[in-house]
């Protein structure tokens, strides 16, 4: 029997507000444990929550960017359960009236667009972090994370393969990053993802029994866990077995899932409206204002880059993954009408620099004027490609300006034939065999000779001119010989 995989994802995103969702504590990552706490986020007796307006604004932004119907009536509920990372033993969340309903995220599967429906987007507070001592003697709690505004984005079970899940996550993350409301950094826990997966016989409508997967630490982890789980379920079902509803954890090291709790142990969260937070209505104008202020979203940017800058879909898809790079790209294109050259530089040299130095583009001391200047120097044969790359790396490392690095290094390209003749002479002298090969008709030998000249000139020689000079010189030699 053939099976169809059905996947739904629950994504939690930390909103990048300066202060927590219901108190004034900082949301900075990496401070001393419990340094960023107050009576409110510690849930001390008598304290009361007050909604952070920015968190709500960000939530509405995401809802609108995901094509949700933004809900005008804002209400918070309490989700009751006991756990030591939750100081009130209830979480302030949104139950039946989330900020956003019925949105979607488009993904590209084999060059076809597929729409994954987003069921709901709701705002809630994060819990603290438990650290268990290795010897089991104690568990410690860090409440710094407790109370940070968290957005839960729940998809419909429209995802049919681990690869689609991966694409969905990639696109969702990109949209949220474009809005500037979250870092979406899975390593720092600012994006977390749980998955529901079930199998059903192909062609059947009724959903199979689902398994909830937790503890994935990267998008790849999500894909791997789903792949493992799809295989496991298929094996069970093929043998005539059945799946029991449960929560399973992904073990990254062993690359497998294992059971955490069964449905019987599932909580009754006893949701009810939080009486400490008065429900209120968002003005229609407020929502319209946010909608108007939304930035260009990745999908639209992609289409525009294809149309406006002549990039291919594949190329455009590379650059739109980095919204800050797009800013630099467009700044450069505005002053230098060679978008493809700029594109090549950004996704080539600069991307390799960023990967090498583990920096993002906003951390580089690079502006559009400097980059365009550099590209122009190459076009004008003032710098070789190699030298330009070297100059750029030096400039970025030392936070210096391009011209002073060029001067310092003395790397301006030598394009004057007269200046190059001496080096050519030396290269020919050192490589008589290649000269003979060339003269015997091996055309390729000239490239070797050009390379030798480049080497001797420490990359400064203009290879085009070098080739001309060599050709001229060899023809001459030939003449002399006869």
């Amino acid at each position: 029997m053939k099976f169809e995989t059905v996947i739904g994802l629950e994504v939690h995103v930390h909103l990048k507000t300066k202060t927590k969702a219901f108190c004034g504590c900082s949301t900075e990552f990496g401070s001393e444990p419990n340094a960023q706490t107050c009576p409110v986020c510690l849930g001390l007796p008598g304290s009361l929550p007050v909604l952070n307006a920015k968190a709500l604004e960000y939530a509405v932004k995401v809802a609108l960017a995901l094509d949700c119907e933004a809900q005008g009536f804002i209400k918070f509920d309490r989700k009751n359960y006991f756990y030591p990372d939750l100081p009130k033993n209830y979480q302030i969340s949104q139950y039946d009236m989330p900020v956003g309903l019925n949105g979607c995220v488009s993904i590209d599967i084999d060059n076809t667009e597929k729409k994954i429906r987003v069921k709901r987007v709701h705002l809630e507070e994060d819990a603290g972090k438990l650290i268990h001592k290795q010897d089991g003697s104690a568990s410690l709690v860090d409440y710094n994370r407790c109370g940070i505004a968290l957005l839960e984005i729940v998809s419909e079970p429209d995802i049919n393969s681990p690869a689609e899940a991966f694409e969905y996550l990639k696109n969702l993350k990109l949209i949220v990053q474009y809005l500037g409301v979250s870092d979406c950094d899975m390593e720092k826990g600012s994006l977390r993802c749980d998955a529901n997966i079930s199998l059903r016989p192909k062609g059947k409508k009724q959903l199979g029994t689902k398994i909830e997967l937790k503890n994935m630490n990267s998008f790849k982890g999500v894909r791997d866990a789903l792949e493992y789980e799809a295989r496991r379920q298929e094996e069970v079902l093929s043998k005539g077995g059945s799946i029991t509803q449960e929560t399973r954890l992904w073990d990254e090291d062993k690359q497998l899932t294992f059971s955490m709790r069964s449905k019987e142990e599932a909580h009754d969260y006893r949701y009810f409206p939080d009486p400490d937070l008065v429900p209120f209505t968002l003005e229609r104008e407020f929502i319209a204002e946010i909608k108007k202020g939304l930035p260009e979203l990745p999908k639209n940017k992609l289409l525009r880059y294809i149309k406006e800058f002549g990039l291919s879909q594949k190329e455009a898809d590379v650059i739109i993954q980095d919204k800050d790079m797009c800013v630099l790209f467009e700044d450069c294109a505005a002053i230098y009408a060679q978008p493809r050259r700029i594109y090549n530089w950004l996704t080539g040299v600069i991307l390799s620099y960023m990967n090498d130095r583990k920096k993002n583009i906003t951390q580089l001391d690079l502006n559009s004027q400097a980059l365009v200047k550099l590209i122009q120097y190459v076009e004008e044969d003032k710098l070789s490609n190699l030298a330009a790359k070297d100059v750029l790396f030096c400039a970025l490392d030392g936070k210096k300006d391009i011209d002073s690095v060029i001067k310092e290094k003395g790397v301006t390209q030598v394009s004057d034939a007269k200046d190059l003749e001496k080096i050519v002479e030396a290269a020919l002298k050192d490589n008589p065999k290649s000269v003979d090969d060339f003269l015997a008709g091996k055309e390729n030998a000239i490239m070797f000779l050009v390379g030798q000249v480049m080497k001797l000139s420490k990359g400064r020689a203009n290879p085009k001119v070098v080739k001309e000079v060599i050709l001229r010189r060899l023809n001459k030699t030939q003449t002399y010989g006869t």
Partner: protein, 480 residues
């Protein structure tokens, strides 16, 4: 003795150079030394007291605070073992306001555990006694505050009222107790019982003091989302001599079975006094009154079950020792031991009831329906206040009952709040005033209710009534 004076009398005496903070405090302390062993009004007495600067509005006049209100650096136990060692690291907004105006925070008063009760008997410190009859309860849950004020162990006090917890003990102890409109006073720093019903309010020796105290504590607070951004008036400026033009409604549902004859008689006489001052009366109907107690015990316990979930032994308060034989594991066992040993019987009863009504499958039938009926109760009052300034009722159906008399019968205990609960459900202000005594010399209270944020109407009628009756001047004889 200065401790028997009201705050506004003391302010006059200080102004005239006839009283000082030192003298007030020493009189108060010597009274407490004599009387407290009998009354047991306080949960915690201060070891030493700060002095407050004399150029302030309240000139360092001491105030007793119910033990569910956070005062920085002092215990705030809610009279529960589970918070036995909890010292509040911050001041409630009302305490900030009091300190700012120069009040001296003096002592934390006894209460029913987590304000669950109408008799002050469920305290982990043992019961407070009614100064008018030490064998009887002072009412609750703010029984400590009411008893302290009645026994001149405090000049004035703060209480909290979720279903009558200020008014009922005020009534049983012959003092004045006001529950302000929901949202009139910040709840920040009040350890929550039922968040949608709780309000902090004054318990005082007369109406003037209640108005003075409300002046200090009322007003918007950005730390409490449920606090209303509506300016408060000067409540001491609304006192008048007569009540011409004042229209008072008498709800017929409040004068039926269960109402003690002597209480009914006193309220009738009070009505006559108000009538002489020019007020007019008309019988009205508040048809949903009969549902108030049921609705209250669903909503209040539901909220309480969630509000009290935080007392788990993890961060603060009492922590039970996990039992090694408990198969549910260390963590669950710690929760069980902490909450099992930390909470008293009534707290457990309400947590279980509240958990039940919120449970999946019961929510719609209980909690959701209760919310709907709550709206109907509020609508009843809205309708009446279109035509009337106040509603007049007894505060409590009976005078003070004996200690132990109702403890084993929660339903009869719950019915002591039958007349006070509706004000909390409707969110409206209500005041209790002394209006007489039974043959056994037990105080009887009169309740006045008004439209939301119309506390001035209550003060106007109450002040005129008080000026024409002797009841608030009566003092219990504690034989010292």
């Amino acid at each position: 003795m200065l401790n028997s004076k009201t705050a506004h009398e003391l302010l006059d005496l200080i102004k005239a150079g006839k009283a000082s903070q030192d003298k007030i405090l020493s009189d108060l302390k010597s009274r407490i030394d004599k009387v407290e062993p009998k009354v047991k009004a306080y949960a915690h007495l201060p070891k030493e007291t700060d002095y407050v600067k004399q150029d302030s509005l309240l000139k360092g006049i001491p105030i007793a605070i119910k033990d569910n209100i956070c005062t920085k650096g002092q215990l705030a136990t809610c009279a529960s073992r589970i918070l036995e060692n909890f010292s509040a690291p911050y001041d409630a907004t009302v305490i900030e306001k009091l300190k700012e105006k120069g009040a001296l925070i003096f002592g934390k008063t006894n209460m029913d555990e987590f304000a669950f009760g109408s008799s002050c008997e469920t305290s982990c410190y043992g019961p407070t006694r009614n100064p008018w009859d030490l064998k009887r309860v002072p009412g609750g849950s703010s029984g400590g505050s009411a008893a302290a004020v009645a026994a001149d162990e405090a000049i004035w006090a703060l209480g909290s009222d979720t279903g009558g917890s200020i008014r009922q003990p005020a009534s049983l102890c012959a003092v004045v107790g006001l529950k302000p409109t929901y949202g009139r006073v910040s709840r920040y720093g009040l350890i929550a019982f039922a968040s949608s019903l709780d309000q902090i309010g004054p318990i005082t020796k007369d109406v003037h003091d209640a108005a003075l105290l409300l002046n200090v504590i009322a007003g918007y607070d950005k730390k409490d989302s449920t606090c209303a951004d509506i300016p408060a008036v000067d409540y001491t400026s609304c006192f008048t001599k007569d009540l011409k033009g004042v229209k008072i409604a008498i709800p017929k549902e409040y004068f039926i079975g269960g109402l003690d004859k002597e209480v009914e008689e006193s309220v009738k006489q009070a009505k006559a006094v108000l009538g002489k001052l020019g007020a007019t009366f008309k019988e009205v109907s508040l048809p949903h009154t009969k549902y108030a107690v049921s609705v209250y015990y669903i909503i209040a316990t539901a909220e309480a079950s969630s509000n009290l979930a935080r007392f788990d032994g993890v961060q603060y308060g009492f922590r039970g020792k996990p039992s090694a034989s408990d198969k549910s594991g260390q963590m669950i066992s710690m929760y069980k031991q902490t909450r099992g040993k930390g909470f008293g019987l009534e707290a457990k009863r309400r947590i279980i009831l509240g958990t039940y009504v919120l449970s999946s499958g019961y929510y719609d039938a209980y909690y959701l329906r209760a919310l709907k009926v709550r709206t109907l109760i509020k609508n009843d009052f809205d309708k009446v206040f279109k035509d009337f300034d106040c509603v007049l009722t007894p505060t409590s159906p009976t005078a003070a009952f004996k200690i132990g008399e109702r403890l084993e019968d929660p339903l009869s205990m719950y019915l002591s709040d039958i007349y006070t609960i509706s004000a909390n459900l409707a969110g409206i202000p209500a005041i209790s005033l002394p209006c007489g005594f039974t043959k056994d010399k037990l105080p009887i209270g009169l309740q006045l209710l008004s439209a939301p944020f119309k506390e001035e109407d209550l003060f106007k009628v109450s002040y005129a009534f008080e000026q024409n009756t002797p009841w608030h001047k009566m003092k219990p004889d504690l034989k010292v």
